[in-house]
């Protein structure tokens, strides 16, 4: 009974997302036929959206185990992208294997629903272990750069993103009517929607850059417009997908929009420092995995801990 109820709410929202995607595909097809400049890029982007949403849908509908495997793999790809971009020391080649090993272990803690271990494993154990392993390589030249960059990358791409999978289990634990999938869908849909909304508001009214050196196109107008739109959408979606009432949903929506923005500019700062435009060429029209999940690196932990603090 509850299983049926859980699936049907999530299903309805997914159907809505696919409807949006159909509309976007239609618009892009018209632009492409008219030969508008930059339409090819948009076609590639929307086509990639179909793939991403398709894979995501399958993963969350199959169940928690499939979601954990999918999100763990996503985390691995993000970490690999990060290690491929940053300066690394030859002597640390095997050190990086330890960092990779943290991915399956961290997602196993998620799967086993062991919150205490999930929350300390990377910030405490991996943090200390990696520093130790790097020290034992016996090379001091570039030591600080190595410990600093490897552990930061692990925190952002594995610890932060593992909160996405954590939502699947948190939802069940707190008796969320639409289950863990409802919470995850609420977060991911709002975060991606907020990216698009901030971009659109910025394109239309953007004048005052927030952090011009990091991201010249991110403006106050775009940020506030996106925040307002996302908050409004959250008010409608929250009671549908989560245990939150409209007021709490608004708060969560605003938090997701603000955290998403910070995640976005943080990864931008990283890319700018490394002097790359995209983190890789994996997703046509989007760039790499890190380009796509940048907002989620902040939005996922923020949303997870809001729900856990107020509802668990």
């Amino acid at each position: 009974m509850s299983m049926f109820g859980e699936l049907s709410t999530v299903h309805q929202v997914l159907i809505g997302i696919y409807a949006l995607l159909l509309v976007a595909s239609g618009i892009v097809a018209v632009l492409s036929r008219k030969g508008v400049s930059g339409a090819d890029e948009l076609v590639a982007r929307v086509k990639s959206w179909w793939w991403m949403i398709g894979v995501f849908t399958v993963a969350i509908l199959i169940g928690p185990a499939a979601s954990v495997v999918f999100l763990g793999f996503l985390s691995f790809l993000a970490l690999k992208e990060y290690f491929s971009l940053i300066p690394t020391r030859r002597i640390d080649r095997e050190v990086l294997l330890w960092a990779y090993l943290a991915v399956p272990i961290q997602f196993y803690w998620v799967y086993s629903n062991w919150y205490g271990m999930f929350i300390v494993f990377i910030p405490v154990w991996m943090f200390l272990l990696l520093s130790m392993v790097i020290t034992l390589r016996g090379e001091t030249e570039g030591f600080l750069r190595a410990v600093g960059t490897y552990t930061w990358g692990l925190m952002i791409t594995v610890f932060a993103l593992s909160h996405l999978a954590g939502l699947m289990f948190l939802g069940r634990e707190i008796g969320n009517p639409a289950g863990g999938a409802g919470l995850l869908l609420f977060l991911v849909f709002l975060t991606q929607f907020n990216d698009v909304a901030q971009f659109t508001w910025g394109k239309m009214f953007g004048r005052h850059a927030i952090v011009p050196k990091v991201s010249p196109k991110k403006t106050w107008e775009g940020f506030l417009g996106g925040l307002a739109t996302t908050t409004l959408l959250a008010v409608f979606l929250g009671p549908f997908l989560t245990v939150m009432d409209p007021l709490w949903s608004a708060f969560a929506g605003a938090a997701i929009a603000a955290a998403g923005f910070i995640g976005d500019v943080t990864i931008s700062a990283l890319k700018r420092d490394l002097k790359v435009k995209d983190s890789s060429g994996l997703i046509p029209g989007h760039g790499g995995i890190l380009d796509r999940v940048d907002s989620l690196t902040y939005a996922a932990p923020a949303f997870f801990h809001i729900i856990r603090y107020f509802y668990a």
């Binding site: 570039g142 490394l274 890789s280 060429g281």
Partner: protein, 213 residues
């Protein structure tokens, strides 16, 4: 054997490249869609050859022949079997024709005449990973002998970090591959080498090459 090679590439090499490694490819449209052609790439890792082969559709597999040093790859029976039947190498004698007056590139020219796509590493050996060493002139001689065959310069980066010379532990890294415009052979060997080198330097300059110290 052909089937074994196909299965190996379809079920082992491609999934490993896709999951553990990852290729950012620039200039895919410049890869030849039929032979004869020569892919002339820099060499960092044993993975280079496998990665280049995997850039092509499986149906082209029988046509793709990495040119490899006989003294290294045929030195023991297992390696020889693997290199010949699975990787599909075209062995050549690095010492340059033991027989007086023999053309050491004859096997390459014959393969090109059959319409094959050759993979050649003008640096000779893998050398120091992720570091361009000098190019050998064999490629220019081959291009002069087959002036109608396109020589495609390919710059690769990153696989030397994933599996450098002397290591057997694969560490996941994305790699970058940039494909340049085709070159054609000419009489002047030095001029051809200069053009090839300039192309490779330009391709390298287009990529983000993280410090690896």
């Amino acid at each position: 054997m052909k089937l074994l090679r196909l299965v190996f590439f379809a079920l082992v090499i491609r999934p490993v490249l896709l999951i553990l490694l990852g290729v950012n490819l620039r200039g895919r449209e410049k890869l030849p869609d039929h032979g004869p052609a020569v892919l002339a790439a820099n060499h960092n890792s044993h993975l280079d050859t496998l990665t280049l082969i995997a850039l092509f559709p499986l149906r082209d597999l029988p046509r793709i022949r990495p040119v490899a040093a006989m003294d290294y790859f045929l030195k023991n029976r297992f390696l020889a079997w693997f290199a010949t039947n699975i990787i599909g190498i075209l062995p050549i004698d690095r010492q340059g024709g033991a027989k007086e007056g023999a053309n050491p590139l004859q096997a390459c020219e014959d393969a090109l005449a059959r319409g094959d796509i050759l993979i050649l590493f003008p640096e000779g050996s893998r050398g120091e990973p992720e570091h361009l060493s000098g190019f050998k002139k064999g490629i220019a001689h081959l291009a002069r002998g087959c002036p109608e065959v396109p020589v495609i310069p390919i710059f690769m980066h990153g696989l030397g970090r994933a599996l450098p010379k002397g290591s057997f532990i694969l560490v996941p890294f994305n790699c970058d591959i940039a494909v340049g415009d085709a070159l054609f052979g000419e009489e002047d060997i030095a001029a051809f080498m200069a053009r090839y080198e300039a192309k490779m330097k330009r391709l390298a300059s287009e990529l983000h090459l993280p410090v690896w110290d």
